[in-house]
Symmetry: C2
Subunit: 130 residues, 2 copies
DNA sequence: ATACTTGCAAAACATTTGCAGTGAG
DNA sequence: CTCACTGCAAATGTTTTGCAAGTAT
């Protein structure tokens, strides 16, 4: 997974241009505009490879299939920026939130060691609320 | 799904006695102690029915299969208590957290309507940290 | 030319559903 | 005695993998 193929470029372009997290099916639909024969297996293989290369990030939300977003989406750091997500109940789209209220250590009982936290907001995006 | 069968009781007992959220497979293993022939299909059917009866709650965590916990676990309200969860990376168990930092409205951009939020903490539970 | 990539089909999981037989009330 | 419930097998949706053919370098 290191050659620069049309398929790899199509997957990366779809994600880079989206500006939000996409499901593998959405990526398939978008990338097939460039490479009509594109297959879901190939999509998944490139999604893994692009994660290893830190070009994209996997976004897992409760009860949702995995989505993928451009690494460093919306910021200009070298390392992936810690952030959370908003899931619109109406259009089912997922948007990155560039804020974080802090470590949440205090929510855990005595003796529990908190190493990470994830916050998901749900509701209506600006478009659907209008 | 309204008769009081051995299967239904076995599923409910397993969840009520666990004190933490269980996966359907864990429930199967526990409930088969009472009803050896018990089947995963039956488990799932009762899980839906018990949710409708508000006896149990479905717990969805990012990247995890669904788990189920007793409704009102750990508190004494009539309505399901709003709470979050801790997922131990070592033993893969899920514990309820009886605290919540608030609505998180402020994390969303202008125009977004926040209707709900979910927080998942990950790390080591007291047992695994020791 | 060589070895990485691709597409397809089939396998893995979690969950749901059709159906015919079983059992609670 | 009925109709809901159960168990099994098959279907669904998402993700992974084996393999033979295709292609970038």
């Amino acid at each position: 997974m290191e050659r620069n193929t049309r398929q790899r470029q199509a997957v990366l372009d779809a994600i880079d241009r989206a500006g939000r997290a996409l499901t593998p099916s959405e990526i398939l639909a978008l990338a097939q505009a460039s490479v009509a024969s594109l297959n879901l297996s190939t999509i998944y293989r490139h999604l893994h490879a692009l994660q290893d290369d830190a070009r994209i990030t996997k976004v897992m939300l409760p009860g949702q299939a995995a989505r993928f977003e451009a690494a460093c989406a919306g910021d200009h750091h070298e390392v992936a920026h810690h952030h959370h997500h908003f899931h619109c109940s109406a259009c089912d789209r997922v948007y990155a939130l560039h804020a974080c209220p802090g470590s949440m250590q205090e929510l855990a009982p005595e003796g529990f060691v908190v190493r990470a936290h994830e916050i998901t907001l749900r509701g209506l995006c600006a478009e659907c609320a209008a």
